[in-house]
């Protein structure tokens, strides 16, 4: 109530607005189509789904619905991981991750999808698994593993097994989280072979579903190869064996439904803070919806990406009451800084309107220090072509000013959240808290682009470099044109948001109209934690 409402200058009756809206709706439709493929589509998937159902098994997302509280959303991560990779045979990388609520307590879910390559783990699957664990660790959440996996995808074992953030890293994380008091719970709904056996084995409590759940370090084929023994998989590692004989499991249940009833019961014994935990460090005030409809965003973002849009108009559609207390509005205007509330939580917002100049970088640095001193979470809305180049810019010390901003972001201890609402180019990506700067969550809009530089710029720059390195008389203009075409194609492909989300450079592509809600959910996770230890807390006037 205290902050002024942003006066919107958008003419929602204009032709441009209508054209933009139509174009953006197509982007969203594409997003939906591709997400639908991750849910139950893809080549030959139907057969696997039918087989899954025939065994009385439930689809991954339905499993989550059976466990989570009624009337609550599921904050799914990286639905389109592996998009365009592995011959498009592993939509979503065969794993579903996200945050859901049980008895009012948020939990990270890591759920194998056995209808994709039998739930086998591909390199991106491991990345998604590990990323979900990191989200849990940073946000103080317990993890629920709904295990139904054929284990590592052996043809790519070198990209899954040995490195730091590979399979071993996931077990390292699991053990460390448990030690930190973040409960690790497993329900075994399918195979847990070899390394996979350690997911339940490292869990605090385990439920096995009779008839479908199996745990063994070596499955029947390996046992046969190693020992010459022929043994039925259920006898080797079924629910009865592990619950009544080995003690690897604590509970045996007859059905999946029974497993989820038991799991909810176990969750109720974990003594965790709820999402509406009193005495969290972030104060929450009464929520006021934005004064302007979220759907306006479709019409604000220009279909022609060369025409900029004003990030202030986006802020007006994300924050409570569209109210925004601007910081230093008359200086360094290509970055907008100020305070607002999202779902009642106070945040400091940094948004770009294009190129970052020296003043803008200094203003942003000042503002980051302010939020760090005041213990206010930071929200970065990336919409930049990068830091300014050129004689004047270099003379003004853009390199050191940009570095101040990068350093301030890197050292800020308050929770940071990043949304790619437009371009994320060059060092602008760093200063605006890109993936490398560990924002708690990073989401991207389907219109966003991410690369060292825009395709146009890359083409010019790289062609010139090539031209300089080639002898003029030996290089035809056709060859130059071919080089230009290749470079442009590479940049266009690689800056596409689906290319990015496929590789987990973000936590998911989202429809802009869900952004406010998603940020509210993310902030609520931080709010129930203890206040993070503060950094130096110095505010320099730059």
């Amino acid at each position: 109530m205290t902050f002024q409402t942003i006066p919107s200058r958008i003419d929602t009756a204009s032709e441009l607005f209508a054209t933009n809206t139509t174009a953006y709706q197509e982007l969203v439709a594409t997003l939906r189509e591709r997400q639908q493929i991750a849910i139950d589509g893809g080549q030959g998937r139907q057969k696997s789904i039918d087989r899954h159902h025939a065994r009385g098994k439930v689809m991954a997302r339905d499993r989550i619905d059976l466990v989570t509280d009624d009337n609550t959303p599921f904050l799914e991560f990286s639905t389109l991981a592996a998009w365009g990779q592995y011959n498009d045979e592993a939509p979503g990388a065969g794993i579903v991750t996200g945050v859901g609520v049980i008895h009012g307590v948020p939990w990270v879910f890591i759920v194998n999808d056995a209808t994709i390559k039998g739930g086998s783990l591909l390199p991106v699957s491991i990345k998604k698994h590990v990323r979900a664990q990191d989200i849990a660790a940073e946000n103080g959440l317990g993890v629920i593993y709904l295990v139904d996996s054929g284990g590592a995808f052996l043809p790519l074992q070198d990209e899954i097994f040995p490195d730091r953030d590979h399979f071993g890293g996931s077990f390292h994380r699991q053990a460390r989280m448990s030690a930190r008091g973040l409960p690790q719970l497993s329900v075994v709904l399918g195979g847990c072979t070899a390394g996979g056996a350690y997911v339940p084995a490292l869990s605090d409590e385990v439920i096995m579903v009779e008839g479908i759940g199996r745990i063994f370090l070596g499955g029947p084929p390996i046992v046969k190869a190693a020992l010459g023994e022929i043994i039925d998989p259920d006898d080797l590692g079924g629910a009865v064996k592990h619950t009544r004989v080995s003690g690897v499991s604590d509970n045996i249940v007859s059905t999946e439904h029974e497993a989820y009833a038991r799991l909810r019961e176990i969750c109720a014994t974990t003594n965790r803070r709820k999402v509406d935990h009193d005495g969290g460090w972030l104060e929450r005030t009464e929520v006021e919806p934005p004064a302007y409809p979220a759907e306006d965003i479709y019409g604000i973002i220009n279909d022609d990406s060369r025409i900029p849009f004003d990030a202030t108009e986006i802020i007006a559609r994300l924050v409570d009451g569209s109210r925004f207390a601007t910081f230093k509005p008359e200086w360094g205007t290509s970055i907008i800084t100020g305070f607002a509330r999202i779902h009642g939580y106070l945040v400091g917002i940094i948004a770009n309107n294009g190129i970052i100049f020296s003043e803008a970088a200094l203003k942003a640095t000042h503002f980051i220090e302010l939020c760090e001193q005041r213990r206010i979470p930071l929200l970065f809305l990336q919409n930049t072509t990068g830091y300014m180049v050129g004689d004047d810019a270099e003379a003004s010390g853009i390199a050191k000013h940009g570095a101040k901003m990068v350093a301030a972001v890197a050292n800020a201890t308050v929770p940071k959240y990043t949304v790619l609402i437009g371009g994320s180019y060059g060092a602008g990506n760093y200063g605006m808290c890109g993936r490398g700067f560990d924002p708690r969550f990073l989401f991207a809009w389907p219109n966003s682009r991410i690369a060292t530089m825009a395709a146009d710029t890359a083409e010019t720059v790289l062609v010139d470099i090539r031209r300089a390195g080639l002898k003029a008389d030996e290089t035809s203009e056709e060859q130059i044109a071919e080089i230009a075409r290749t470079i442009r194609e590479q940049y266009e492909t690689q800056s596409d948001p689906y290319y990015a989300t496929s590789r987990l450079w973000d936590d998911g592509l989202i429809d802009p109209i869900h952004t406010r809600d998603i940020l509210g959910l993310c902030l609520s996770l931080a709010a129930r934690q203890d206040e993070p230890a503060a950094g130096p807390g110095i505010v320099y006037r730059m």
Binding site: R32, Q35, Q36, A38, I39, R61, D62, D65, L66, T68, D69, D70, N71, T72, P73, F74, L75, E76, T79, V101, G104, P106, E210, G211, A239, V240, R244, I252, V253, S254, T255, H257, E258, Y260, A261, R262, R264, E265, A268, K274, V275, D276, V287, H343, G344, I510, D511, H514, D517, I518, G520, L521, L523, S524
Partner: protein, 618 residues
């Protein structure tokens, strides 16, 4: 004055209300099985062995210093001996004098008196109990005829005879039933009216010889001679018939020296307008509130006035009848199951405003099989009959009563029947039409209401945002709703829309209860959590294992099973002994014994199989 109310339930509370308004002190009674009922608690009632134990009740009245006893209806209200004993004990009897009760108590007697008072009787015969005399009387009257118990009531001891050759059998049955019900096998034979309406006239008399009528009541909506729905005044009567009824009733009252509130019941032939004396009820009737609604009088007050010897107030000289009133008896019965009594605890009760609700129950009241199934009377009025019926429809659409089945939905259905709207009914209405089946439980609506309620309670971002989906996957959460008959309904998926926004409903978050009114029926559910709904019955689960093993080295002390025995979870199969302690080896779930591998005295190793099983899922 201090008045003992020798009754229970709604009528005890209704009498108490008037008595207390007039400044009298009230003493209630109850019985051991009825001590938790609303009247017992409210009136701080004194326990008696039975509501029919006259001497105990009189003793309580004397001990507690009462001046008078009001008997209500039923129980001892028409027991002349009790009335006499009350007076003999020096107490005021708030009711007609014992002689009147006695003379009207026997149908044969009452008919004779009515005849002498010039009140038309149904052509009939009551002179002799000889089979042949009754048979020839029936032949004279013409079939169909009715045989009914002389001392009867409540529909018992009644037979309709279509033709002469069926007479003997019917007579036998009627006599047997009358003997069993009333200890008196005397019967009378009379003309069976084809389109009978039950119309009655309310009387009030004093001990100074004045008797006034307070208009008619229509009580034709009956089931097995039990009234369900009453109105005042009786509709569709010519002035001639109406005045004739009034005059006949007053004549009869005057003839017998009637000195309290009472009712003369008539059969009116719906086609001819003829009327015949049926019987006189020497007490306050269940349906008296409809008369009060159109006269503005308080019949209990008048009864107390005249019982204390005062003359009827002069205001009764110009009683006017204003508008129309009706009463629905809300009984704990399931109309779709032949009005089968429904027992249980009323845990939600929400009564619309602007109605008269005479009730003996409150939220938390338990309906037991010990007493009458009527839980309340819903009375409304309007400026005319359509207005009154419309008010009743609205009231029934608003009423919520959960925990037991009630007849509220039946009444709501009835109010849309043309026979009722046009008042073309007879007492056989419910024999001739098909009653509606039980409505399908409104599970989807209840689920939507529950979810809406939970959204309203939202206290954090997650519940405020609700189950929206940020991908094309729509949340398939399941809600379990247990209806009061115990059946659990599962609603899967989101039930977002509430079509019937005007529908009356209550959601009690703490008790996880949802009640909603559809067509007068209260649909009530308890939301059952998943942990309860999906949890396995520990004795019902398949054992999963194919053998019972010894947990440690031991000696077999006892083998309790044999091949073919069916076990359930927890059943002891073998008892073993180790370290001088006995230990039971039990089945973990349902299974059949396929082989017994050990015998008493055997030494077994830890992990050794004792019993082979075939579990149920094999």
């Amino acid at each position: 004055m201090k008045i003992l109310i020798a009754n229970r339930g709604e009528i005890a509370l209704r009498i108490a209300r008037t008595a207390q308004r007039l400044g009298h002190v009230v003493v209630g009674i109850t019985t051991d099985v009825d001590s938790a009922s609303q009247h017992a608690v409210t009136l701080n009632a004194i326990t008696v062995p039975s509501y029919l134990d006259g001497s105990a009740i009189i003793a309580v009245a004397k001990e507690s210093g009462c001046d008078a006893i009001h008997p209500g209806y039923g129980f001892l209200s028409e027991n002349a001996d009790f009335a006499r004993d009350v007076v003999a004990a020096g107490l005021i009897w708030i009711g007609p004098n014992a002689e009147v009760i006695n003379s009207m108590g026997s149908k044969i007697n009452a008919r004779a008196i009515a005849e002498s008072a010039g009140v038309p009787l149904i052509p009939g015969y009551a002179d002799s109990q000889a089979d042949s005399d009754l048979r020839s009387a029936a032949d004279d009257i013409g079939y169909p005829v009715l045989i009914k118990a002389s001392a009867g009531g409540g529909g018992r001891g009644i037979r309709i005879v279509e033709s002469s050759d069926r007479f003997a059998t019917a007579l036998d049955e009627a006599r047997t039933e009358a003997e069993r019900a009333f200890g008196d096998g005397s019967v009378i034979v009379e003309r069976y009216v084809q389109q009978p309406r039950h119309v009655e006239v309310q009387l009030i008399g004093d001990r100074h010889g004045r008797v006034k009528h307070l208009g008619t009541r229509e009580c034709s909506v009956q089931r097995r001679y039990q009234k369900l729905f009453e109105e005042a005044p009786a509709p569709n009567l010519s002035d001639e018939t109406r005045n004739g009824l009034h005059d006949a009733a007053v004549r009869l009252g005057s003839t017998v020296g009637y000195d309290s509130a009472g009712t003369v019941e008539f059969v009116v032939d719906g086609t001819t307008g003829e009327f015949f004396f049926l019987e006189m009820n020497t007490r306050l009737q269940v349906e008296h509130p409809v008369t009060e609604a159109i006269t503005g009088l308080d019949l209990v007050e008048l009864m107390i006035t005249v019982a204390s010897g005062q003359p009827l107030p002069s205001t009764l000289d110009d009683v006017t009848f204003t508008g129309h009133a009706c009463e629905a008896r809300i009984a704990a019965e399931d109309a779709s199951q032949g009005f089968m009594p429904s027992i249980g605890t009323i845990d939600i009760l929400d009564v619309p405003a602007d109605v008269r609700w005479d009730s003996g129950v409150a939220e938390g009241s338990t309906i037991t099989p010990h007493f009458d199934s009527m839980v309340a009377k819903l009375i409304v009025s309007g400026e005319d009959r359509p207005a009154a019926l419309s008010a009743m429809r609205s009231a029934l659409d608003e009423l919520l009563i959960a925990g037991v089945n009630t007849t509220a939905g039946f009444h709501r259905w009835l109010l849309d029947r043309q026979e009722l709207v046009d008042a073309t009914f007879s007492t056989r209405l419910l024999d001739s039409i098909e009653l509606p089946a039980a409505p399908d439980p409104a599970v989807e609506l209840a689920a939507a209401l529950w979810r809406e309620h939970r959204r309203g309670e939202a206290s954090n971002v997650w519940t405020e945002i609700g189950a929206i989906s940020m991908t094309p996957h729509h949340h398939q959460r399941s809600l379990g709703l247990r209806s009061d008959d115990g059946e659990i309904h599962e609603v899967v998926g989101s039930s977002e829309t509430l079509e019937a926004a005007s529908m009356r409903s209550i959601v009690d978050g703490a008790r996880r209860r949802v009640a909603l009114n559809i067509g007068g029926h209260t649909h009530a559910f308890t939301v059952v959590p998943r942990t309860e709904r999906w949890a396995a019955d520990p004795t019902g689960r398949a054992s999963g294992g194919n053998a019972l093993v010894s947990p440690f080295p031991a000696v077999i002390a006892e083998v309790r099973v044999a091949v073919g025995d069916e076990l359930k979870g927890g059943d002891v199969a073998v008892v073993i002994e180790a370290m001088k302690m006995l230990h039971s080896v039990t089945a973990s779930g349902a299974a059949t014994v396929s082989e017994v591998l050990v015998a008493v005295g055997d030494q077994v190793a830890g992990g050794q199989e004792l019993i082979k099983l075939n579990s149920e899922n094999d």
